[in-house]
């Protein structure tokens, strides 16, 4: 039997009278990449927040005992004034310099490079609040990877942020999947990404609309149910959302 890392049963989340998630059930097995798709307001980020225990919910969320979770938030507003260097940000989780350097190499920072913004030592010295969007995104992924998590929860970055000129965030994830044998839960707007990288997909629109391997479940009918109507756009021009 495959190893189940997370079992969610009849999950419900409400804000006041509004139901955000209703009767969502699914399992996450070891080594799978599970994509969560759905329109804005479908409750994707809320699902992650419930999984992390940040908001009240009904139903059951069962993590495998002793599981280490790495979480990459969608965005993080850090005031430029915050007196905290990137090095110190990593030290909050891990003091070992070698470990920190390893995860930074994994996410594409270099020991030396023509562009000083890509050099590990330069990044570590700067205040975390003044990093660019792409740099911060990579730093957050590296931070999540510190300590070798069993599962990575990855909330999609704002579309349009390229983490560097040569690499997209998804290319990076794909690389990590192969190198680190990570189980990944990924929120994405981009169906192309889901087709390319996910082993399974959950389509969410307050309720779970479909679940299964992307090529089987993402047919026209279920997509119409999630996004309503004009589906073709999303497949052909996946930067639209």
């Amino acid at each position: 039997m495959e190893d189940i890392l997370l079992k969610v049963t009849n999950l419900k989340v409400k804000y006041g009278q509004n139901s955000i998630l209703n009767n969502v059930s699914f399992d996450v097995k070891e080594d799978e990449t599970l994509a969560i798709i759905g329109p804005n307001g479908a409750g994707k980020t809320v699902l992650f927040r419930a999984l992390l225990g940040l908001i009240p919910y009904e139903g059951k969320i069962e993590w495998k005992a002793g599981l280490k979770i790495g979480y990459v938030p969608q965005k993080l507003f850090i005031e430029p004034d915050l007196p905290l260097t990137t090095q110190e940000f990593f030290n909050l989780k891990e003091k070992n310099k070698k470990e920190v350097e390893n995860v930074l190499l994994l996410v594409g920072f270099k020991k030396d490079s023509t562009d000083k913004n890509h050099i590990i030592n330069q990044i570590l010295k700067r205040k975390i609040g003044v990093l660019s969007g792409g740099e911060l995104q990579r730093v957050l992924i590296a931070w999540a990877l510190l300590g070798h998590p069993d599962i990575l929860l990855f909330d999609e970055p704002t579309t349009g942020i390229d983490i560097s000129t040569e690499e997209t965030i998804y290319g990076l994830l794909h690389k990590l999947q192969e190198k680190e044998k990570l189980t990944i839960m990924l929120i994405s707007h981009e169906l192309q990404v889901v087709y390319n990288y996910a082993t399974n997909v959950i389509c969410l629109n307050k309720e779970k609309v479909c679940i299964g391997p992307p090529r089987e479940v993402l047919d026209k009918e279920s997509l119409a149910k999630i996004f309503g109507g004009h589906v073709g756009i999303y497949l052909h021009d996946h930067h639209e959302l």
């Binding site: 927040r49 992390l52 225990g53 940040l54 979770i69 790495g70 979480y71 938030p73 993080l76 850090i78 004034d81 915050l82 007196p83 905290l84 260097t85 110190e88 940000f89 030290n91 909050l92 989780k93 205040k127 975390i128 931070w143 999540a144 300590g147 929860l153």
Partner: protein, 256 residues
């Protein structure tokens, strides 16, 4: 009562260090006004303690504990910080405190008088300050992570609610210790201003902690010295000294 200036300076220095260190998190948490308002809660507690002929520090501490449990609960239950509620609650306790504090003790309770501290209170203040500094050092990483992002903190298994409670408890304790020598109206300032000054000139968290503590100590020590030399009430002088550091660091920041 302590008539040895050196011991008074020592008491002030230790309480200043603990207040500065704790304050460094309060400034980053954007809870500065809560710290300030919290110090007002001490007043009714002190008044009741004086009426019962108990130590005012004990009374302040009990009142503060009740208040921090309230804040902690509100912080936990509400996604928006219930500032208005806090404001109402604290001004109420200040008004009540002023009413029930006996007239002769009122000025002292409001603005502090370090010379009225007994030897036992002084030694207790030093001892508790050391304990507080050690405790806060232990939870500092978790606190900072929780300030940056609750999600990240939770994902690494940190119990945010517990950490916040320990932190608020320590704030209550330092305010209770400080009210005797800077008074309930001004103790908030001794928590906030050294950290605000430190933030002006720090780029790393290590420096930030260091300067918060340093400004806490120097404000208290220089303030107490000046106050005892010119026979002023200690509270306002200590606070004005810390404001002096704030102005210097603020100008330094502008010039750098």
């Amino acid at each position: 009562m302590i008539d040895n200036l050196l011991i008074l300076l020592l008491v002030g220095g230790f309480v200043g260090a603990a207040a500065g260190y704790l304050g460094s998190f309060m400034v980053l948490k954007r809870m500065s006004l809560v710290g300030d308002a919290l110090s007002h809660v001490a007043l009714p507690g002190m008044a009741i303690a004086i009426a019962l002929q108990k130590s005012p520090i004990l009374g302040a501490f009990i009142a503060l504990t009740i208040a921090i449990v309230g804040i902690w609960f509100l912080e936990k239950k509400s996604t928006l910080y219930p500032e208005t509620l806090v404001g109402i609650f604290f001004t109420t306790s200040l008004a009540l405190g002023v009413l029930i504090t006996p007239e002769p003790d009122l000025l002292e309770a409001l603005f502090g008088n370090i010379e009225k501290i007994t030897m036992i209170e002084g030694l207790l203040a030093i001892f508790l300050s050391v304990i507080m500094i050690i405790t806060i050092k232990k939870i500092s990483n978790k606190l900072i992570l929780g300030i940056i992002s609750e999600e990240l903190a939770k994902s690494t298994g940190i119990n945010i609610s517990k950490i916040n409670f320990i932190y608020l408890f320590l704030v209550g304790l330092v305010v209770a210790l400080g009210v005797k020598f800077v008074g309930t109206l001004l103790m908030g300032a001794l928590v906030i201003i050294p950290a605000a000054s430190a933030k002006n000139i720090s780029k790393t968290i290590t420096n930030y902690y260091f300067f918060s503590i340093l400004f806490g100590i120097t404000s208290a020590v220089i303030g107490v010295l000046i106050a005892s030399f010119y026979h002023f009430s200690s509270g306002p002088i200590v606070v004005l000294t810390s404001i002096f550091f704030f102005i210097i660091t603020f100008l330094t920041k502008k010039l750098l």
